[in-house]
Amino acid sequence: MKPAVTFINVSRYFGSVKAVNEVDLAIQEGEFFAMLGPSGSGKTTCLRLIAGFERPTGGEIKILDEPIQDIPPYRRNVNTVFQDYALFPHLSVAENVAYALMIRKVDKKQRLQQAEEALEMVRLGGYGDRRPSQLSGGQRQRVALARALIGKPAVLLLDEPLGALDLKLREEMQEELKQLQRALGITFVFVTHDQSEALSMADRIAVFNEGEIAQIGTPQDIYHRPETEFVANFVGSSNVLPAALVRQMSGRTGIASLRPESIRVVAEGGHTAIVTAKSFLGSATRLSLDLYGAGFNALVDNSFGSVEIGAPIQIDWDDADMHLIEGA
């Protein structure tokens, strides 16, 4: 299997700002790949480099082993679903979906038929005659998807495609996107700042921080074995234990991450922590704890009973859940 997208030492600077700094990356064919990071971390710039809206300051970008940094966007067999969908307001839904075919001069009857098929694929059959402004946010999102997929791209790029949807719709669309990707076998590259979205959808994740990739791996790797303090903090808001505490508790050296849900409330024999805040989340309760002077987050089930703010409680965890961060 050859990589669908390869970055070799790619940089993109805007003046003195290093938006993307010497990134190496290989996205496999047929993969559902997520680029995760806070805003300004360079993930969207990477996506725009693949699409061709930006040109690299240095390095080489390949799509299916073909160097493409000198190829304009309209000649790349890559399509994008934009964050705010960018549907053309002066065209009907069907004309929007058929836009790529119209550009390629496919005859009108055939392209409208293909557009209808693409709309059926995203469960919007019969909506072709409407205007984008008459659709809901979720429907526009599907139209944008159909429009980007009709040209059968080698790679589909999605820029925070679910960001504008409400929670329930977002969960539905996550499932639908995954099914669609499996059915079509097209490489999806997906940019998001929402770690739960990345974890639930992607085959692999690249975590971006300040223009560089902090870690690439499967969702399980990223979640359970963060390689840097940034990844531990950003993904799942892990507790980062300072080196002194780690040595005191386990005798190992280095800092370590501990997931909030790994912490249990026990009757006795654990570590004594002071509750500084609590919030009820429905299925669980989030506690902010003060343990030996360090702030901790714990996500505990509701069976532990009631606890007062300012009161001490006993907490414990399995040593195996404490993941030592390498190179720290």
Partner: protein, 319 residues
């Protein structure tokens, strides 16, 4: 008890705005009064004084003039409109409409790159410079500008001098030898009239166009190129349709201003009449108000037809 209730009342409703405050309160409770107060003066001005006199003018066009006495005959007739159709008058109308159309087309072509640059790329200082550059000509007197152009285009003018200097005089002479658009010099040719019209009305095309282009989100252009469209195809299929309301707005200005102008063709050009000049001479020296009125109706009808066509072609769909 009573006292403390009063105290609390003061805590809820703040007093002390005086008469102006009470007037504001009335407006807040009855917004219609404010609306009437604001709209009545302009409606009186526009509706009665302006539209009223326009209608009076329209009425005049249905009267006729007695050829012997030169007095106006107040019987409704279409005779004056019939006169519009005689070859000399039809010639004037055709010349004016053709000139207005060519000036409009040329201003679209010249204005687009300027407006596009200003809308897409110019920021801060460059944007200010753009507005200044476009508006500055509007601040100086229209007559001064036209006479300046006369000097530029005249046989003794700077353009002629430049062509001589570059040994390209033969090129200019060859151009001036072309019938219809040529002439003795640029300042007495239709080309001269066209150039000055184009210069004088260009800001009225640039500004609405720039406003329209500014409203086209940048990612529409990216989306189009992402879907395989070359820059030219993106221009044809996305940018132009979305900027069309601005182009139409600008063209209404350039077209109608050219249709009605009577000074430029009088100073620069072949001294053949345009509609504006015909109106001017008929209502002045000739005293033929009905024919002047009928001539005035022509641009109104043409503009009405133009807007109707533009609407049918979907020019305002993107609004």
């Amino acid at each position: 008890m009573n006292n403390s209730a009063n105290d609390r009342r003061g805590a809820v409703i703040s007093a002390g705005f005086g008469l102006a405050g009470q007037i504001s309160d009335v407006f807040w409770r009855k917004p219609v009064i404010l609306l009437l107060l604001m709209l009545t003066p302009p409606l009186l001005w526009l509706g009665v004084v302006y539209i009223g006199s326009l209608l009076a003018l329209l009425a005049q066009s249905f009267f006729s003039i007695d050829e012997f006495s030169g007095l106006i005959n107040y019987h409704l007739t279409l005779k004056t409109y019939g006169e519009l159709l005689n070859p000399a008058n039809l010639d004037i109308i055709l010349r004016t409409v053709l000139m207005a159309a060519i000036v409009t087309l040329a201003s679209v072509i010249v204005a687009f790159p300027v407006a596009f640059y200003a809308a897409r790329y110019a920021r801060g200082r460059w944007k200010a410079l753009f507005y200044l550059g476009v508006m500055l000509p509007l601040w100086s007197s229209y007559l001064v500008k036209i006479y300046a152009w006369k000097l530029i285009l005249a046989k003794e003018g700077i353009l002629n001098w430049f062509f001589e200097l570059t040994h390209l005089k033969w090129l200019l002479d060859a151009y001036l030898a072309i019938p219809l658009i040529g002439g003795n010099s640029l300042s007495v040719s239709y080309t001269g009239t066209f150039l000055v019209f184009l210069y004088v009305w260009l800001p009225f095309m640039v500004l609405p166009m720039q406003a329209a282009l500014e409203r086209v989100p940048a990612n529409f252009l990216e989306a189009s190129s992402d879907l395989g469209a070359t820059p030219w195809q993106t221009f044809r299929n996305v940018l132009l349709p979305l900027a069309l309301p601005g182009v139409i707005a600008g063209s209404i200005f350039t077209f109608s201003l050219t249709l009605g102008d009577y000074i430029i063709p009088q100073i620069i050009g072949s001294s053949r009449l345009f509609i504006g000049q015909a109106v001017y001479s008929h209502q002045g020296t000739a005293g033929n108000i009905p024919l002047a009125a009928a001539f005035t109706v022509v641009p109104v009808v043409i503009m009405g037809f133009y807007l109707w066509m533009a609407k049918r072609k979907g020019a305002f769909d993107a609004l």
